[in-house]
């Protein structure tokens, strides 16, 4: 699913966010990425989505090299990813349902199927009763779940969730984490960044990756489904 070889990421201002990382993620893995703030977790996810590009090394996601000049391939790659952004990136002035639909409108999904997927995703995150509420009226935790619903409704091969438990209390955090954990199946790989290390033990078959100052340590190799 993901092969990174000696990948470094250096931002234009000179900050080196990732140093010669090596990573191999198989389809169906649930990967837990921990590390302090500023260690490079978001940067890693940005590389995987083709928002940033390696300044050195080679990176393959879904067997495609992630290269800046391949705009069309990057777009295809993003279409196969279900992203949950740290800042949610919900589209204001639209309902929860419309936000979930927006993630699918340009995909090759028939209209009926699109609506079914969206409603199912909202049911799974427990927000079917908020489907027609404007997203700016939702609580923080609800908005978080709409973002997850948008990501999973498109049936992506790879779910990338950036700190989905941030700012949530323990109960809500464990709910969100369980939710993401349950979306993992043999066709769906899930990567979650967090600094909520106390949750790790709940997921014994998850892989655990620690990021520190741009370096990656694979601490535990989890099973895939």
């Amino acid at each position: 699913m993901i092969q990174a070889k000696n990948v470094s990421l250096r931002y234009i201002d000179g900050t080196v966010a990732l140093r010669e990382i090596n990573l191999n993620v198989k389809p169906g893995e649930f990967v837990y990425i921990v590390g302090p703030s500023g260690s490079g977790k978001t940067s890693l996810l940005k590389l995987l989505m083709g928002i940033e590009f390696p300044s050195a090394g080679s990176l393959y996601v879904m067997d495609q090299p992630v290269l800046k000049k391949e705009t069309r391939k990057i777009r295809k790659l993003r279409q196969n990813i279900g992203p949950v952004f740290q800042e949610f990136r919900l589209i204001q002035g639209r309902t929860a349902l419309e936000n979930v639909l927006m993630g699918m409108r340009f995909l090759d999904i028939p209209k009926r199927q699109m609506i079914i997927n969206a409603k199912n995703a909202l049911v799974k995150v427990g927000l079917e009763h908020k489907a027609s509420v404007m997203v700016e009226k939702l609580s923080f935790g609800e908005a978080q779940r709409v973002a997850i619903a948008r990501a999973v409704a498109r049936k992506p091969a790879l779910i990338l969730a950036d700190e989905p438990t941030g700012n949530l209390d323990y109960d809500n955090a464990i709910n969100i984490m369980n939710l993401l954990y349950n979306f993992r199946d043999k066709n769906t790989t899930v990567l979650v960044t967090t600094h909520a290390t106390h949750l790790i033990d709940n997921y014994q078959d998850a892989s655990l990756i620690r990021v520190e100052k741009g370096k990656i340590h694979v601490e535990r190799r989890g099973a895939k489904v």
């Binding site: 993003r78 990136r89 589209i91 204001q92 409108r105």
Partner: protein, 290 residues
């Protein structure tokens, strides 16, 4: 298409985001297009008029009483290069023509005991051959004097040329202004929604999907302006014709339906084209600063 309704809703939303300036550009475009239609209408009437009058280029050749056989002279004139046809207008016809022109005033002709009009040749010619034909006819034996209506015709032609130039200028000005207005509206809309656009890009949405609501809005604003302008120009033509036919019956204006049809088609297609071009231009010039 599964997103038809979505695109329309998005366009309306972008419109409402900037209701006032969008409304202004809508009515501004309508007004500009209306002015365009006015100029083009006058231009087309005048050029049709000039075209018709060109065929009225004629020379009146008066011959002296010694000419015994006017028919022979007529045949000679007919052979001259540039002459379209020649007709002999006899004294009675000359008088009845004048009666027609004078209308109600024609009673004054009764003051003459004898018919004051002379017979003459009415020579219809090609306007550009006016000079050689004129000298040749003047030189013919038996021709007393010759009169032509070139001055009037050339005057009209000059006016219609000037109107043509004015027409092109106005078309250029209207096109540029409309393109600037619409593309600016589009750029503004894209700028205000750049967060949403960025999100869609991160989700892998193609450019066409992202841009379509903006292009649709630009098209609708301009084409809508075109429709409003068309309605008003139709009202104006209708009013104008009913006034014209009442007062100055002899001006050979083109038939009303032709003008209505021509101007409406012109306005609608110009506004549609400008709408699409303007929004595509707006979209393509705002993409660089995403």
């Amino acid at each position: 298409m599964k997103n038809t309704f979505y695109f329309i809703k998005e366009s309306i939303r972008i419109f409402r985001y900037n209701k006032l300036s969008n409304l202004f550009s809508f009515f501004g475009t309508a007004l500009i297009l209306f002015l365009l239609a006015l100029v083009v209408g006058v231009w087309s009437i005048s050029s049709q008029l000039a075209g018709m009058l060109k065929e009225e280029a004629e020379i009146s050749a008066y011959f002296n009483k010694d000419v015994e056989n006017a028919e022979d002279l007529l045949h000679i004139i007919e052979q001259i290069d540039g002459v379209r046809y020649v007709r002999l207008v006899n004294e009675e016809e000359a008088r009845s023509r004048m009666e027609k022109i004078l209308g109600d005033e024609s009673d004054i002709l009764d003051l003459f005991e004898e018919n004051p009009f002379e017979a003459y040749f009415e020579v219809k010619i090609h306007l550009d051959k006016m000079d050689p034909v004129f000298t040749q006819i003047s030189g013919l034996k038996g021709i007393d004097y010759v009169r032509e209506n070139r001055d009037v015709l050339e005057q009209i032609e000059r006016i219609s040329k000037a109107l043509e130039v004015l027409g092109y200028l106005v078309i250029a000005a209207v096109s540029i202004t409309t393109l600037v207005i619409i593309s600016h509206m589009i750029r503004q809309g894209i700028y205000q929604n750049h967060e949403q656009i960025k999100t869609l890009m991160l989700l892998g949405a193609p450019d066409n999907f992202i841009n379509f609501p903006y292009v649709l809005l630009g098209f609708l604003l301009t084409f809508g302006g075109g429709i409003v302008a068309t309605v008003f120009i139709n009202i104006l033509i209708h009013q104008g014709y009913s006034m014209l036919t009442g007062t100055i019956p002899f001006i050979p204006v083109p038939p009303k339906s032709q003008l209505v049809y021509g101007l409406s088609t012109f306005l609608l297609s110009v506004s549609a084209a400008l709408g699409i071009l303007g929004s595509l231009f707006g979209v393509s010039t705002s993409k660089k600063k995403k």
